[in-house]
């Protein structure tokens, strides 16, 4: 099982802070996961298509081409604005 987290404006737009995805043994990229989530919901689709979205795997910023496997923690979020 893959744990997926959403933060900030993305979390609000999706109305969802976290979800799970059964990878069924596959190794996908973060981008594959994003596309799969988008294909499951026409409501989510436009928000997940935002090209500014950042992605973290196991709490490290990575490009969307990064692979994810079962047990990973994947997070999507808008550009950060702390400090």
């Amino acid at each position: 099982m893959l744990k997926i987290l959403f933060f900030a404006a993305l979390r609000e737009r999706l109305g969802c802070a976290s979800t799970n995805l059964d990878l069924q043994g596959q190794v996908l990229t973060a981008r594959d996961v994003l596309n799969q989530l988008a294909s499951q919901s026409t409501q989510w689709q436009p928000h997940l298509a935002d090209t500014d979205l950042l992605c973290a795997v196991n709490q490290h910023l990575v490009p969307l081409s990064h692979p994810v496997t079962a047990g990973d923690e994947l997070a999507f979020f808008p550009p950060v604005t702390g400090g």
């Binding site: 987290l5 933060f7 900030a8 404006a9 500014d52 973290a56 709490q59 490290h60 910023l61 997070a75 979020f77 808008p78 550009p79 950060v80 604005t81 702390g82 400090g83």
Partner: protein
């Protein structure tokens, strides 16, 4: 090379953070940066909420501070970032660097802030007299990283 990373809701005291940093007798320079909730030009700011990604924030700040310690000769480094709801003029973030020489202290302080602004998972939402808005990322913050690459 001591490192102090704190992510918390409560306020922090610059005075005690500074006292901690100045203890290293080999360090002749202490540079501090403090970020504050500032008035808006467009509307009255009532408050600001800082959301974060628990766990990842601490890791990201540790990575940034460690990169600074590898790049410059530094003594103690402190990064404190608040989360939750903050009022105008409250403190948001503190970066403090002790170093033997001032140039390293200034550079490391600015490096840490530039990377924190682009890489640490915090998000600001402004509650204003005309509504609630997520703060947009600034192109100038991205541009600031170029200096270090």
């Amino acid at each position: 090379m001591s490192l102090r990373i704190v992510v918390q809701q409560p306020d922090f005291a610059v005075a005690s953070e500074y006292e901690r940093l100045r203890q290293d007798a080999r360090c002749g320079a202490v540079v501090t940066f403090t970020g504050l909730v500032r008035e808006l030009a467009e509307a009255e700011l009532l408050s600001m909420t800082l959301e974060h990604y628990p766990g990842m924030t601490e890791q990201a700040l540790t990575q940034i501070a460690t990169a600074a310690q590898q790049r410059w000769q530094l003594g103690a480094v402190t990064i404190i970032h608040r989360v939750g709801t903050l009022l105008p003029n409250e403190q948001i973030v503190f970066v403090g660097v002790a170093s033997a020489h001032r140039a390293a202290g200034f550079a490391a302080g600015e490096f840490i802030m530039d990377y924190l602004k682009n890489r640490a998972p915090f998000w600001k939402k402004e509650h204003t007299s005309s509504g609630e808005y997520w703060v947009a990322a600034k192109v100038s913050d991205q541009a600031a990283l170029k200096r270090w690459q």
